[in-house]
């Protein structure tokens, strides 16, 4: 605890060398002190980042042996069971990685597990950001980048899954081609150009390979770097608490504590992925056998992140298909186009647009750095849950044959159940989630007003028993009283202004819609504005806080 250790000479030398050329000492010192708020849910994005790094490293290893060629050869490699079987060079080289390259099997499994974890981490990171409102100004652009990363990651995963040219992977490509062919007018042309002729042709693996190892990873890397730089520049959001405001961030400085923790977390992520890869077999292509367009297996599924598309392809009925009665007749295959193009469009489009829709509804133009507790934005939370339920139902529908077999339910019945659930589920999800949010708000108000139930029972002199309510900690009081009521600037504008002229905006279609949405967004709320916290002891915080917040809220109105 005495004096600070002198920087070693060598380090000083390097430091000086760099600073002489880039003038970094001052910037560097500031950035060493970059603040990261502490919460486990703020580390979900890091899981995705670390999985991506693992994917890059193991991916490079795999390219050293993988041959992206569809040349048909007769296998005579070391894996005995498939000797003498005709297969593509891509599949044969995958077998080579598995059974000739020591550690190759492990690397391939790490690559695949890391891919599953990567997309899963993207999803929960995105859900965290959505439910806490961390996408609001000034972070809308970073949210859009995140949506793009998510979309690209799915395509990247699908292409990677297709490369080994094993039985299920080839079927994935076939389904992709089937969806392409359904596109009106240009479908056949797109398919012919992508596949270099008819399915399967001899080019598709080579082309997907280039997209998978070069183009998409480069885009992903660029977007991830941009995502991270924007985060660094804008600083992380934080949950409400003592001293945490829209203007001040509280947390652990980057150096030394956060850097060590984040570094340790990389190793944890790698350890879990390596552990799965060591003991849990994934995508055993050598057991599936090579792809042929005529073979199929029951229980065929894509990797989990494509499950929602698979599910929507399964449950969408063909009732809406029709034929344009011109000339020989041209089919419009709604049952392929909606699941293949419209539903992903809805999901990604909805994700991308939500920050702007919400901003339009609330008219909130201020920078928000304190994250919402999900219960305090019940409509947003409800919409998010509805989206999750919709996605989840489609995802489950993608495994309806496995569910049918496992739980002995009639296969067609599962389809009907999922058709109903895909519509009813999100509505129910919205209503229930919103109810729960309001219930939690009510409990918060209760806690703020009366303190928490201590569990201690006391007998009054009158003989009556009461449960003692204790005052909440200052932190709890701060968190609970920091709740902001949902509001919208649209509703604050008078319908009729002082001179008796009707507000023209309110009468137009869009204006009407906006007001209706604003009403819907704000109508249900349990306010805490009029609540005096249980004990006076710690009130100075809250008083400071409200007096400080007050004028800001007023500004808001203008």
């Amino acid at each position: 605890m005495s004096k600070t250790t002198q920087a070693p000479k060598a380090l000083r030398g390097v430091g000086n060398y760099i600073d002489d050329r880039f003038h970094l000492a001052k910037t560097g010192e500031k950035n060493l002190r970059k603040v990261f708020p502490n919460h486990w849910s703020f580390m979900l994005g890091e899981i995705a980042l670390y999985s991506f790094i693992i994917l890059l490293v193991t991916g490079v290893f795999l390219t050293l042996w993988f041959k992206p060629s569809m040349m048909e050869i007769v296998y005579d490699g070391s894996y005995e069971r498939l000797q003498g079987v005709p297969m593509s060079e891509a599949f044969a080289s995958t077998l080579y990685i598995d059974f000739d390259v020591r550690g190759g099997f492990l690397m391939r499994q790490i690559h695949h597990w890391a891919a599953l974890i990567f997309v899963a981490a993207l999803v929960i990171h995105m859900l965290r950001v959505f439910f806490t409102g961390a996408f609001r100004k000034p972070r809308e652009i970073n949210w859009l980048i995140g949506v793009a990363i998510f979309a690209l990651a799915m395509v990247e995963g699908l292409f990677g899954y297709s490369l080994p040219d094993d039985l299920p992977s080839g079927m994935g490509v076939r389904i992709l081609q089937g969806v392409m062919l359904a596109i009106p007018l240009v479908g056949t042309y797109i398919s012919m150009f992508l596949f270099g002729g008819e399915f399967p042709g001899e080019d598709i693996i080579t082309r997907l390979y280039v997209l998978h190892v070069l183009l998409i990873p480069a885009l992903l890397l660029g977007l991830i770097v941009a995502h991270f730089m924007i985060l660094w520049h804008q600083k992380h959001t934080q949950y409400p608490g003592v001293g945490k405001t829209d203007r001040t961030v509280v947390g652990t400085p980057m150096f030394p504590a956060f850097a060590v923790k984040a570094g340790g977390f990389f190793f944890f992520t790698f350890a879990v992925i390596a552990g799965l890869s060591a003991f849990v077999q994934i995508n055993p292509v050598h057991l599936f056998g090579p792809f042929t367009p005529t073979s199929i297996t029951s229980g065929l599924q894509p990797d989990w992140y494509m499950g929602f598309m698979e599910g929507s392809l399964r449950i969408f009925p063909n009732w809406l298909d029709f034929t344009i009665p011109i000339g020989p007749g041209y089919p419009i295959m709604v049952a392929v186009l909606v699941p293949g193009l419209v539903i992903p469009g809805l999901i990604f489009g909805g994700l991308a647009l939500w920050p702007f829709i919400e901003q339009w509804i609330t008219g909130d133009k201020r920078a928000r750095n304190v994250a919402d507790r999900p219960r305090n934005a019940p409509v947003r939370t409800g919409v998010g849950v509805a989206g999750v339920v919709f996605y989840g139902v489609l995802w489950l529908a993608g495994s309806n044959d496995i569910l049918s077999e496992t739980f002995s339910i009639d296969l067609y019945l599962t389809t009907y159940i999922f058709r109903v659930l895909a519509i009813a589920g999100p509505i129910l999800g919205f209503v229930i989630a919103k109810r729960i949010c309001l219930g939690l708000q009510r409990r918060d108000r209760e806690t703020l007003e009366h303190g928490y139930e201590s569990g201690t029972i006391q007998q009054l002199p009158s003989g009556e028993f009461i449960e003692v309510h204790k005052e909440s900690s200052s932190e709890t009081v701060e968190v609970l009283s920091s709740k902001k009521d949902p509001s919208s600037t649209v509703l604050q504008e008078e319908d009729v202004d002082s001179s008796g002229v009707e507000n023209p905006d309110a009468r137009k279609g869009m204006g009407k819609l906006r007001r209706a949405l604003a009403h819907w967004y704000t109508k249900d709320n349990v306010t805490v504005r009029d609540v005096e916290p249980h004990s006076g002891h710690h009130l100075h915080h809250t008083h400071d806080h409200t007096s400080q917040e007050g004028p800001e809220e007023d500004e808001d109105g203008h």
């Binding site: 048909e72 042709g201 600083k235 060590v260 340790g264 944890f268 390596a274 005529t294 199929i296």
Partner: protein, 384 residues
């Protein structure tokens, strides 16, 4: 970047009063742990002052030190074990890898993976212990930067930018501007043109398969042509078949492309099970019925689902349903393979079959409709 940092610095000063909130400064208990470091910190506290500083006790730090080191030692040993396990299963003297045996491959995978896991976990755990038990814990306040520039800065930038634009003449000389933009257009289209050779135009290709009059059929996977009498003993038989082609260039005697569109499902349906649909014509302008295209109770349908192209081969002999295991489109084999459930747009195309002089099953023509996923022009080509 630099400018922004200055901004930070200034705000840090302005923000001082706010930081007082929640800074437990005077509690006696706090002072015991934080007094001494407070002096040190004041020597160089960095850009933002720490608060709630919690130094670990000497005892805790010593324990943490030992614990973290223990983890790092475990990680080192596991790392060495990882490298060692690489050499445990070497190729034999003739260069054949030992791991080609799946059982050995499993041992190798678990040994390498297990040691790697332990090495990674050791480092992660060691670093976490280090951060949690040796490093002092504190939090710092720092301002969120005011992101929008002030009006003056914005105005000044905008003015300067436009001055530059005027200076360049770009705004004032439309001829030059427009010709430059025009010159970009052909170059913008060029990459699209260059991609033209990615593939051929569809034309009529997707309407034709190798099936033609007199073509025999192989049981898929063999090179044995089927005779009608081979199905004599299967009142409820089914088999996957391909056209009998033996092209030396392909290991299976037939290209993947041709396999993908010509594979068929031969199904033997008992006499009384046929349904009404079999008596309809195979296509609008044809006087052949679906029934005419069968032979001796044997019917041939394309095996490729008309939905998105999986092989629809799951045949239930009791219900005569052909089900696609991918998306569960269901076709009725006894009723001209019409769609009875699921997302498919149209029934499975049928192949006309008969026998030749030697009793071998043959096709007597091509499918009545293009096989495979339904596409825009499927009714447009020369068809059957």
């Amino acid at each position: 970047m630099t400018e922004n940092n200055n901004n930070d610095k200034n705000e840090a000063g302005d923000d001082k009063p706010e930081r007082v909130v929640g800074t437990p400064s005077s509690s006696a208990e706090e002072r015991v742990v934080s007094e001494q470091p407070a002096e040190n910190e004041s020597a160089h506290a960095g850009p933002f002052e720490p608060f709630e500083t919690h130094l670990r006790s000497e005892e805790q730090m010593r324990r943490g030190d030992k614990m973290a080191s223990a983890w790092f030692i475990i990680a080192t040993l596991a790392g060495i074990a990882f490298i060692a396990s690489y050499f445990v299963f070497p190729p034999n003297s003739s260069g054949e890898p030992m791991i080609a045996d799946p059982q050995i491959a499993q041992y190798s995978n678990m040994l390498l993976g297990g040691t790697l896991t332990l090495a990674m976990f050791g480092i992660g755990a060691g670093m976490t212990v280090w951060a949690r038990n040796v490093m002092p814990h504190y939090e710092v306040h720092s301002p969120y930067d005011e992101l929008p520039s002030n009006e003056e800065e914005k105005g000044s930038f905008s003015e300067f930018f436009m001055k530059g634009a005027d200076e360049s003449g770009f705004t004032k000389r439309p001829l030059m501007r427009r010709t430059l933009l025009a010159s970009m257009i052909p170059l913008g289209i060029a990459p699209v043109v260059l991609l033209r050779d990615l593939g051929p135009l569809p034309r009529e290709k997707m309407h034709h398969t190798p099936w033609e009059n007199g073509r025999r059929m192989y049981v898929e996977g063999t090179h044995r042509a089927l005779r009608a009498e081979d199905l004599e003993n299967d009142p409820n038989g089914m088999i996957s078949a391909l056209p009998a082609i033996d092209d030396e260039r392909y290991p299976h005697g037939i290209s993947m492309n041709d396999q993908a569109k010509s594979v068929i499902l031969l199904i033997k349906v008992p006499e009384g099970d046929w349904k009404e649909g079999m008596n309809q014509p195979v296509s609008e302008d044809s006087d052949e019925t679906h029934m005419n295209w069968t032979y001796n109770g044997i019917v041939a349908y394309s095996k490729i689902c008309t939905h998105v192209g999986c092989p629809a081969a799951l045949y239930e002999r009791t219900t005569h349903r052909i089900l696609c295991p991918c998306h569960q489109s269901t076709f009725d084999a006894a009723d001209a393979a019409k769609v009875v459930f699921g997302p498919a747009h149209r029934g499975l195309p049928q192949l006309p079959i008969g026998v030749d002089d030697e009793g071998y099953l043959i096709s007597t023509g091509d499918f009545n409709e293009p096989p495979g996923p339904t596409f825009w022009e499927y009714q447009g080509g020369s068809g059957s």
